[in-house]
């Protein structure tokens, strides 16, 4: 395209590209170091479980990769404003640029490499380290973590408006609180009795949809004792905002005594529960209405 305005006099002889590259390399080195070492340790979902830690590491990797790109864009903008500023009164276009095949090939190759390697890394992480990224893998999980013990099954039951939890390995007892032992792989079987809910325990690195009639399996291995906040992350009616509770990660010994107390405390309810099932919807049909 040609301009009917007089082309601006390009500042000649100045090594803009070399200067830009030097600034970019320096800034990127500082930026990436800050992202990885200063910001990284504080990135959610932190390190409370293996899955959370691996998700955090991926967040750090993504942020570290994005930093040089972001800096390149900002730097080009700021540099242009400073170096190529039109001074004086005349407002004129810069010199038109034609072609630039090497540059085009370079940016297509570089961006393709970044996107493809991110896709490869993400897919590998889904199966390898994050084991489904805590999102729930449906009833037949493909990425199953391995531990010295088989996964402890805990069913998470969403209902308007509370979470209850069922432990098939302990007589099918149901509880209003969730506790899990540290260091052991837990298989969370997330389901709902009515509308869609979403079981979100950010410190565990788990956010799994609770769908009626469905068994959504999410794995987690908590690394140390502590507590974690649970929220419903799917708008589910009047008290959606109140659908939160606190879960516990206990030492294996403390978990054993906790679950024994739950079995005793909830004995009357356990007798009335239907046999453990991966889902309960749409039963019981004859009730309600």
């Amino acid at each position: 395209m040609t301009s009917n305005l007089a082309p601006a006099a390009a500042p000649s002889g100045e090594p803009h590209i070399r200067r830009l590259i030097v600034i970019w390399v320096v800034l990127s080195a500082i930026g990436v170091a800050l992202v990885v070492f200063a910001l990284g340790p504080h990135m959610p979902p932190w390190t409370f479980s293996d899955e959370a830690r691996d998700q955090r590491n991926i967040n750090i990797m993504l942020a570290a990769l994005a930093t040089p790109v972001l800096l390149a864009v900002w730097m080009a903008l700021v540099y242009s404003i400073v170096a190529f500023r039109q001074r004086g009164v005349a407002i004129v276009d810069g010199t038109p640029i034609h072609g630039g095949g090497r540059l085009e090939v370079a940016w297509i190759v570089v961006t393709t490499l970044i996107v493809v390697s991110l896709a490869v890394a993400g897919t590998a992480a889904l199966f390898g380290t994050t084991k489904g990224a805590g999102g729930g893998q449906g009833p037949d999980p493909l990425a199953v973590p391995h531990g010295s013990l088989p996964p402890l099954q805990v069913q998470v039951i969403g209902q308007q408006w509370a979470w209850t939890f069922r432990y098939p390995a302990f007589g099918g007892v149901e509880t209003t609180q969730i506790a899990i032992p540290a260091g052991r792989v837990i298989a969370l079987h997330v389901t709902s009795l009515d509308v869609n809910h979403s079981f979100w325990a950010i410190r565990l690195g788990v956010k799994a949809d609770a769908i009626p009639g469905s068994d959504n399996v999410a794995f987690v291995r908590p690394r140390r004792p502590g507590s974690f906040r649970i929220r419903c992350a799917e708008l589910c009616g009047l008290w959606h905002g109140h659908m939160f509770t606190t879960g516990l990660v206990l030492t294996p010994a403390a978990f054993s005594s906790w679950i024994r107390r739950q079995v005793v405390a909830n004995a009357a309810a356990t007798r009335t529960l239907p046999p453990y099932s991966t889902h309960y919807f749409p039963e019981p049909l004859r009730r309600a209405g």
Partner: protein
């Protein structure tokens, strides 16, 4: 269009939008029923409630509902109750509705009350057969959950317009819970006792003043 006319149009449209938002918020805030203070009682308060299968009046004559009685014996259509902090709250529910049954039988057990018990027509119970529940009175954050026994499907003289009277078919449920620090705690029913969406979780189940409300600990 002149600059002045354009400015006027933008200002007018903004004013209308702000007014609509204000009306919506005011309506939302005013939609809550008036709180009812539980009657004083030794070491705490007495809260007297009833449930009715159909309220019988506007705006929803066919909606299932709770009502609450004040110290003078008058019934009010409210589900917001004020009770004292660090006290024993004795609750009496006159249950006039028939059984619907619990979606989750887990709530058949009495929890969070003194002794983890209730009385039903004078009998002390720890739990109810899940199919016999008509409603529950549950304050999840305080751990209180009590299933309420429904009257028999064929009971004579059933009530269908609030407030129901002692002569009409009912069960009487009592329980006591202890309050802690002041705060506002939501309460709800866990029986899908209403109509419409997925087996009865619509309408009154989603509306404060009917099957949900607040316990204000003051």
């Amino acid at each position: 269009m002149s600059r002045g006319a354009r400015l006027l149009a933008v200002a007018g449209a903004t004013a209308v939008a702000v007014a609509l938002v204000a009306i919506y918020v005011a309506d939302f805030l005013a939609a809550n029923p008036t709180p009812l203070r539980a009657a004083p009682a030794p070491r705490g308060a007495q809260l007297t409630l009833q449930t009715v299968a159909s309220y019988g009046h506007d705006p929803h004559p066919d909606w299932v509902s709770y009502l609450a009685r004040d110290g003078s014996g008058k019934w009010h259509h409210t589900t917001i109750f004020k009770v004292p902090a660090h006290a024993l709250v004795r609750v009496t529910v006159y249950q006039y509705d028939t059984a619907t049954g619990l979606r989750n039988p887990f709530w058949s057990q009495v929890r969070g009350t003194v002794g983890n018990t209730m009385t039903v027509d004078g009998r002390t119970l720890h739990a109810l057969p899940p199919d016999d529940a008509s409603h529950t009175f549950a304050i999840p954050e305080l751990g209180v959950s009590v299933p309420l026994k429904g009257v028999g499907d064929n009971a004579p003289n059933q009530c269908s317009v609030a407030p129901c009277t002692a002569a009409q078919a009912h069960t009487t449920v009592t329980f006591t819970f202890r309050t802690g620090n002041p705060g506002r705690f939501r309460w709800q029913c866990f029986v899908p006792c209403a109509a419409s969406f997925v087996f009865g979780n619509g309408g009154p189940m989603q509306s404060i003043g009917w099957m949900d409300g607040y316990v204000q600990v003051v």
